[in-house]
Subunit: 135 residues, 2 copies
Amino acid sequence: VDVIPDSHRDLAEKGGVGFLTTLGPDGSPQTTAVGFFFDHDAFLVTVKSSRQKVANVGRRSDCTLFLVDPANPYHALEIRGRAELVPDDDYVLAAKVAEHNGATVEQVRALDGPGEHRLCIRIHPVKCNVEHIAS
Amino acid sequence: VDVIPDSHRDLAEKGGVGFLTTLGPDGSPQTTAVGFFFDHDAFLVTVKSSRQKVANVGRRSDCTLFLVDPANPYHALEIRGRAELVPDDDYVLAAKVAEHNGATVEQVRALDGPGEHRLCIRIHPVKCNVEHIAS
């Protein structure tokens, strides 16, 4: 998508760990580390149904995904977006995220206990900011 | 403070870069990378007055500071807190943050243009979560 500057597209495409912030019941932010896959349109994050962030984005879709080069914190990208919850009962999207991050869909599946199911959070970028540490 | 588990206190004490999320005018999250200093009571972040995050925390104090070991993303800590804006016209707090992160207060001072002044965001931890990537 156009909003990601070419200078920071590597951060989106290489996968790895991002920092996803969603809004809790009282509107305050909650941040978690997540693996992700960028499908050139949106960022996919795989979650089980019992996670707080599932409830959070179901209530309010505003979120940020923050990506940073672990070797160079000055190379970073903030993606402000809207999160959409997509059912992933057959683990097709989970497999994409897992395989892009050196894991297997079996490893994801093993995380899901009885009564849980698998969802994908699709993060549609609205605005991206190139980040600098200087403040 | 008690809310930081001993297992993750290293992340608080070593300084470096953290990911600070504040709430924009419409309540949506905004994340930026920041240097910080932990004074064993609160986290200090130095900012110039023109920054969006100054307006954000002035409006609403809820924030998160996310700390992660660059060498091991599985070693991470989410600090949910309340942000307090503290005047820092004499750069005393800016110096603490800068020096803890291998910079100098002169480098901080050089960031401030005419009509700007220096503030400190003090982040008082309310709750800490040890983070895992598994979702």
